[in-house]
């Protein structure tokens, strides 16, 4: 209940929203059932309300269930206990209202960049020319013009993730679910992609749920950071970042350093526990 209060207060700072809009998670519990061995409690008592067009980071050590929570929001895993709603309607499967970007890009390897971006558009009632124009516009936006006819295997990691982001943004989802999208990229590319993601989000605001284990990344990108504890995954604390994302010197400011230290102190204990392999 304490977490609930904190979380609601945090949301109010940034967005005035009714309980109907955005993504709401209530009393969520999830058992992971491996093919062999006993079921593992992956998530317990997770309650979270994400405002419309809010940028949220899910932060925690590996095994804290942050990706599982994202997959449940995406409708890829069935909700067994608790409830997830998107704009008031229960999530009952994947849908184009929630676009997803995966860590390993999940581009269709047998399709070219253009064919990948067209895939979602082909499922929408658009004229052929309109689809093509829209796909090309998003390819241009992510800086992949000239690579329309390349296969994913011919692209670098950063370019693959750009293509995946273009494919997801092209269908104009209300929410963007990102599962460690920059985790597989080198440090320079990662930083560029973070900056671009913020620019895109500012241009066309969407609800973003961004899973990461990188404290700096979470502080740099998110309005609020949901810090999760490991085994079972619970919400430990929700931190309101409150930094000016438009400031180009942001990452060198003392406010940024202080916020990172604060969040890191919350995560550190969990990371140690996760490494030791014991629950709280």
């Amino acid at each position: 209940m304490l977490l609930n209060k904190q979380e609601r207060a945090g949301a109010g700072v940034w967005h005035e929203h009714t309980s109907m809009s955005g993504i709401v998670v209530e009393g969520l519990r999830h058992l992971y059932r491996p093919k062999r061995g006993a079921p593992v409690l992956a998530l317990e008592d997770v309650t979270l309300s994400v405002g419309d067009q809010e940028f949220i980071a899910l932060l925690g050590p590996s095994g804290c269930g942050k990706s599982t929570l994202l997959y449940l929001m995406g409708g890829f895993l069935p909700v067994e206990t608790g409830l997830i709603t998107m704009d008031g309607a229960p999530v009952a499967g994947p849908g184009p209202d929630r676009g997803v970007v995966f860590q390993h890009f999940a581009l269709f390897p047998w399709k070219t960049v253009l064919q990948n971006v067209l895939y979602g558009l082909e499922r929408q009632p658009l004229a052929r020319g309109e689809r093509e124009a829209r796909a090309l516009a998003f390819i241009k936006m992510v800086g992949l013009s000239g690579f329309e006819n390349n296969y994913p295997s011919q692209l670098s990691g950063g370019m693959k993730q750009r293509a995946a982001i273009a494919r997801t943004l092209a269908i104009d989802p209300k929410a963007l679910l990102m599962d460690e999208p920059f985790g597989a990229l080198d440090a320079q590319t990662r930083h560029l992609m973070q900056t671009e993601l913020l620019a895109i989000w500012r241009r066309s605001p969407k609800t973003v749920i961004f899973v990461t284990h990188d404290v700096q990344e979470a502080v740099y990108l998110a309005e609020r950071i949901v810090v999760m504890s490991a085994r079972p995954g619970r919400i430990k604390e929700i931190v309101t970042v409150g930094l000016d994302k438009a400031d180009p010197e942001l990452t060198r400011s003392s406010a940024f350093a202080q916020m990172s230290d604060h969040v890191w102190s919350l995560v550190r204990d969990e990371a140690i526990k996760a490494q030791a392999g014991v629950g709280p």
Partner: protein, 250 residues
């Protein structure tokens, strides 16, 4: 010109082997019946081709392999995908597949001859049965290898469950499926020639046996080399087909 010269270079060991063959056969170390000179074999090949025996038997054999392999690919792929998509099919079929996979398929030669006689039917059935399982395994394993995040991507981009199966699982299965078909292709020639050697009155295998028992060894070797060349050509054609299909893999 460059491609041609690199091809010549690539197959030059074959040329050297042919020269060694010719030299060994002419040296008198071997009897001319066990190792006739290549030049004599070439002449015998021309005679066979002129008489029409080679063409007729080749066409008969190609029809049998083509039909048998075609059926094996269609039935095998359908079974493999059914096993991957539908638990009932897997439960019913996997013990059967496990039992018959290691069976030497040539053991079925007398069985199919008993059922369908000495003609095309028994060869087609044999090749179909013998070549089906590698295709089934390829389709099954390939379909199971589909990445779940690809399926999830398709779903979240607006594809229905069925649509995402079609758009993701089938293309994901193609590389493994083609591997299975390549194994089946090689197997089909083995089964074709061995069944024609044993129970047939037509086909390249029959021709090899017939010429061998008649003592016309140059002609027999000519047919053996023809079979080798057809197998090589089929594999090369299949390879270039695969390269085109899997161009996206780089």
């Amino acid at each position: 010109m460059n491609a041609l010269s690199s091809a010549v270079l690539r197959y030059s060991p074959l040329l050297i082997l042919a020269l060694c063959w010719e030299a060994a056969a002419r040296s008198g170390l071997f009897s001319s019946s066990s190792l006739p000179p290549l030049s004599a074999i070439a002449l015998a090949w021309v005679d066979l081709a002129r008489s029409g025996d080679l063409t007729g038997n080749t066409l008969a054999s190609l029809w049998r392999t083509g039909a048998g392999l075609g059926l094996a690919i269609v039935i095998g792929a359908v079974l493999g995908f059914a096993m991957a998509f539908w638990r009932g099919a897997e439960t019913a079929l996997s013990p059967v597949v496990e039992l018959f996979y290691p069976l030497p398929k040539s053991a079925l030669i007398p069985v199919t001859a008993l059922w369908l006689g000495f003609g095309d039917g028994s060869k087609i059935l044999l090749i179909c049965m013998g070549c089906m399982l590698p295709v089934t395994m390829g389709a099954f394993n390939g379909a199971l290898s589909a990445d779940r995040t690809l399926l999830w991507s398709a779903r979240s981009l607006g594809a229905s469950r069925l649509r995402s199966m079609w758009d993701v699982v089938l293309p994901s299965a193609v590389p493994e499926l083609l591997n299975g078909i390549r194994t089946a292709l090689a197997l089909s020639f083995v089964l074709l020639v061995s069944s024609e050697l044993i129970v047939s009155r037509e086909g390249l295998g029959y021709l090899i046996g017939f010429l061998g028992s008649n003592g016309t060894y140059e002609s027999m070797f000519a047919v053996v080399l023809t079979v080798a060349f057809i197998g090589f050509l089929a594999d090369q054609l299949f390879e270039s087909f695969v390269r085109r299909i899997l161009a996206w893999r780089d």
